[in-house]
Amino acid sequence: MWRYIVKRVLQSVPVFVGITLIAFILMDIVPGSAVTMMMDPRTAQMSPEVEARLIAHYGLDDPMPIRYGKFLLNAVRGDLGFSLRFNQPVTRIVMERLPPTALLATSAGIFATLLGLAFGIMASLHRGKLIDAISMIGAMVGASMPVFWFGLLLMLFFSVRLGWLPPSGWGSGDVRYLLMPATALGYGFAAVIARVTRSSMLEVLGMDYIVTARSKGLGGRVVIYKHALKNAMIPVVTVIGGQVGRLLSGAVLTETVFAWPGLGRLLVDSVLMRDLPTVQGCLVFIAAVFVAVNLVTDLMYAYLDPRVRFQ
């Protein structure tokens, strides 16, 4: 198992380096220097001497490989650069915006996993019955619904019509503020989990060892939870890990709809304001989280399925 863990950790290093490289190159080929980008030529002018001094000050005249090397080294140390717009280090801005996003994404993830597993298992145990049809139609709807539109519909119903829930903001973690964004973000995720759980369960339930377990007289519950579910979970874990990207993308839209002061909102604002260091910092940070989550997923996968780690 240790060998597998070390191998898998080493494998994610080039992926992380590649991601930082892409983020760096993309931001590097933007026309105009990072200094002039911050200036709106309609309102302010910068003399060429000042520009040259600033460029030298931020080390922007070094050759690209050197700048990338510095960027990567700093990123690993936790320094994601400096935002001229906020006049603050990007790392500090990102850390300030992290708690709301972490709260939103984990609540949505937990909600989606519970909902998806419950409906997926029920659908597989009652194949072809009403509950199966309802679950699968619900899943199809969830997979096709734009998350921002679903969020607005929730807002329209629960805030505008009924007045039960606050329409926007995060209320420093107050649950009433969390309910709608987490539901909006989690529904699409739940849909994917339900579908995979159902098909995985159906496959496992048809296996010989389930028939054996049943024929030797084990009760339905034991067979389902002890024999079938554990094996059926293997593909589900992979899908949950792989779909975290969808959750992060969805968080960008959900945060915009509900004025949730998180990383996604920061990223979109920075793109619109062309605050390149912050965009770069957010991208690298989110991608690093994503790589880490995928790593954990793979390790869990190896834990659940010994065949993987002995390959």
Binding site: I29, P146, F148, L152, G245, V252, L283, A287
Partner: protein
């Protein structure tokens, strides 16, 4: 393994003989008999027709309106779905918006399929260094959630529909490349490919004749589902103000504009959303149906 008699009986069929009409109809009927494929195909065909005949179907000009008299009209009368802030007919804008969404789906998947199939076949067929490069690039691209990669590209290129094509097209190829690479690797080792090579067929011929046809159905399924994803992503980016720019009637930007008036004029946000939902649902159902039809094992 097939027995010799089975092989022979199959070889006896003249490949040039026309496919019996009965069987062909049987296939289409079988495909459409699954409810998801039937509904999906119906929705997609209807959308294509709406996009083509938009000028005939739309009751008003989607761009022009009299803001003084028509703004904020509730659904009903000569504006079945109401009007927006500038008094433009929402139904007409949704109808014209079909063109944008379908174009996004087609162009984005066109780019993804072209890149993905080319890179996947090259990597799988020649292996070695090319394969290392492509596989690593694929892994790195999997590290970026699609929407975030598109956001980065849009930052570089600036907002706009054409840049969305590029951004989403560049984000979409890795899934297809991974699939095609795997398929190529397995087909390459089949005996008939070896036989073709031994008979002196060029690499190009082997790829076009033997390998690509084997990739066709999974790529078709993936591209159909990919259209749904691309349409959803464009709607999201346009909602954020990074996609189609005004006055283009993109569904996502219609929702973004109507958002501020959700308290008094909810129709501005609800109806364009229904359009996105139905379109994405149509492509998802069609993709599901295609998969069940082309690969019953899944």
């Amino acid at each position: 393994m097939k027995t010799p008699s089975q092989l022979q009986s199959r070889d006896m069929v003249d490949p040039r003989a026309p496919i019996p009409e009965l069987k062909r109809r049987g296939n289409v009927a079988r495909f459409l008999s699954s409810w998801s494929a039937g509904i999906g195909a119906a929705i997609v065909i209807a959308l294509v027709l709406v996009a083509i005949f938009a000028p005939l179907l739309a009751p008003h000009n989607p761009y022009e309106a009299d803001a003084l008299t028509d703004a904020f009209r509730a659904p009903g009368g000569s504006f079945p779905l109401g009007t927006d802030v500038l008094g433009r007919c929402i139904l007409s804008r949704i109808i014209y918006g079909t063109r944008i969404s379908l174009t996004v789906g087609l162009v984005v998947q066109g780019i993804s399929v072209l890149l993905g199939v080319t890179l996947g076949v090259v990597a799988g067929y020649w292996e070695g260094f090319v394969d290392d490069v492509v596989s690593n690039l694929t892994n790195i691209m999997f590290g970026f959630p699609h929407l975030l990669f598109a956001l980065a590209v849009v930052t570089v290129l600036g907002p706009g529909l054409y840049n969305i094509f590029i951004a989403l097209g560049l984000a979409g190829w890795p899934m297809i490349a991974r699939l095609v690479r795997g398929q190529t690797l397995s087909v390459k080792r089949k005996e008939y490919v070896e036989a073709a090579r031994a008979a002196g067929c060029t690499d190009f011929f082997v790829i076009v004749r033997h390998i690509l046809p084997q990739c066709l159905s999974p790529v078709l399924v993936m591209a159909t589902m990919g259209m749904a994803a691309a349409i959803l992503a464009e709607a999201g980016l346009s909602f954020l103000g990074l996609g189609a720019q005004p006055p283009a009637p993109s569904w996502g930007s219609m929702i973004a504009r109507g958002r501020d008036y959700i308290w008094d004029s909810p129709w501005m946000t609800t109806f364009p959303g229904v359009a996105i939902f139905v379109t994405v649902l149509g492509f998802n159902l069609l993709g599901d149906g295609l998969r069940d039809f082309l690969d019953p094992r899944l």
